[in-house]
């Protein structure tokens, strides 16, 4: 079997679609309570002037802004679309490389099938792990805000306006 996928229009189509896909990655919101020393990730439901409404495994809960010492919005920068496309291209090319290489032995005996299963499962897991690790190397950006409700024109109000207006960051 010749490995001619690289030149096929199929892969070009996939690459073009991925190139134009959104590079956005969800930001996360972390909250430090006055009673705590650590930031804790919360799943935002919505932000109100007096309350921050979050989703918890037991239901929807609200945090009084007065009990919050600070919040920070963490944004992990995504890959540049070109780099992302290159990685996706490599990911699927590697899949087909493995498939073609192993299908030389098809039909598989039971031990061979287990081997094929392990190779795909293992390489997929390593690929996902490596992608996450590479992604982490991108610098995370934090917007930290100390809560000062009295300062109506301050950072708190701007952050609140941002959270209220930007439904994208709210829990779906």
């Amino acid at each position: 079997m010749s490995f001619d996928l690289l030149t096929s229009w199929l892969q070009k189509t996939i690459v073009v679609l991925i190139l134009f896909s959104s590079p956005a990655r969800s930001v996360s919101l972390e909250v430090k309570l006055k009673s705590s020393q650590q930031f804790k990730k919360v799943w935002l439901h919505r932000a109100e002037q007096d309350f921050l409404v979050v989703v918890t495994p037991s239901g929807v809960d609200s945090l009084d802004w007065d009990s919050v010492q600070g919040v920070r919005i963490k944004k992990t920068n995504d890959f540049h679309p070109t780099k992302k496309t290159f990685l996706y291209f490599g990911y699927f090319t590697f899949f087909y490389f493995l498939l073609e290489t192993m299908y030389v032995e098809a039909p598989f005996s039971v031990p061979q099938f287990l081997g094929v299963f392990t190779v795909f499962g293992g390489s997929g897991a390593v690929g996902g792990y490596a992608y996450a690790k590479l992604l982490e190397q991108n610098k995370d950006e934090y917007l930290s805000v100390e809560i000062d409700k009295q300062n109506k024109n301050g950072k708190f109000q701007k952050t609140l306006d941002f959270l209220i207006s930007n439904k994208k960051y709210q829990t779906k």
């Binding site: 239901g59 009084d64 997929g124 996902g128």
Partner: protein, 277 residues
């Protein structure tokens, strides 16, 4: 000093968070998935959909041989090789689903991301569940694949001898398509769990179409094998997705009214009045 906090909410969408899946949840859920799918499908309310799909499949069966020629013509006009058909066919053979699902596991473990882990679990769950139903249909319907067809649209041998089936699988295993069910299930799980990635649906639908085209060109399926395959993959993926979510529907927070005493960090005592629209 008393203070009263009035909290008005106005959300209309369901709240969703993802629970971490157990190691074998995807296997444990399969019997109930199939049971739920059967209940949801075989009900009076769904009669119109079943009728439409049966009629559609019947029409496609009638034109199967002609549509197979159309598919081959597309390949010839497109100028791609048989090897590309082979690639397209293997979009839905389960290895890609294993590869992508495992990648989500690797990613999910590194980032402690329950959504990725849950997506992987749901892909495996819906793929296995649809695989079971597909195999059941194949063993009952006994339809010939195009490349071994003895009639223009392939002979059907309902309830075939199972020994013959296993000795000559292509003579019996065309209907429905497990490949299409598998890729549909994966696309539905990913698009449901990652709605912010707008490319998943168009890319996924393209993958399903290419998979279908590739299998017609390699002679393993007729186009009429696809509607049931798509329905199985779609329905079982939806069920798996629903089970993997902790959904806080508005009905437990909406239109609720509560009053409770509160004390804030300054020592102010008051009442909190919550009314959620």
């Amino acid at each position: 000093m008393c203070s009263v906090f009035i909290f008005l909410g106005s959300s209309l969408h369901a709240q969703t968070i993802y629970k971490k899946p157990g190691m074998v949840d995807f296997i444990k859920n399969i019997p109930s998935d199939i049971s739920e799918y059967t209940k949801q499908t075989l009900c009076y309310e769904n009669a119109q959909n079943i009728g439409a799909m049966t009629l559609g499949t019947g029409l496609l069966i009638y034109y199967d041989d002609k549509l197979l020629d159309v598919s081959n013509n597309i390949r010839e006009q497109g100028g791609w090789s048989k090897q590309v058909d082979w690639y397209m066919e293997h979009i839905g053979d389960g290895y890609l689903q294993l590869y992508v699902g495992s990648s989500l596991i690797g990613y999910g473990f590194y980032n402690n991301d329950d959504r990725a882990l849950q997506s992987a679990s749901q892909i495996f769950e819906s793929v296995f569940a649809s695989g079971i139903l597909v195999q059941l249909f194949k063993h009952v319907t006994g339809r010939e694949s195009p490349f071994v067809a003895t009639t223009p649209t392939g002979r059907w041998r309902p309830f075939p001898n199972q020994v013959d089936y296993h000795n000559h699988v292509p003579n019996y295993d065309a209907f429905p398509s497990g490949h299409v069910a598998t890729i549909t299930a994966m696309v539905v799980v990913l698009s449901e769990n990652y709605p912010e990635h707008a490319f998943i649906k168009p890319l996924g639908f393209l993958a399903i179409a290419l998979n279908g085209l590739g299998m017609m060109n390699t002679g393993v399926h007729w186009i009429s094998d696809y509607p049931l395959g798509i329905a199985l993959g779609y329905g079982l993926a939806k069920i798996a997705v629903k089970k993997g979510r902790v959904s806080k529907k508005n009905n437990n927070i909406n239109n609720s009214f509560s009053i409770f005493p509160s004390i804030n960090h300054r020592g102010n005592v008051g009442f909190s009045i919550n009314y959620t629209l």
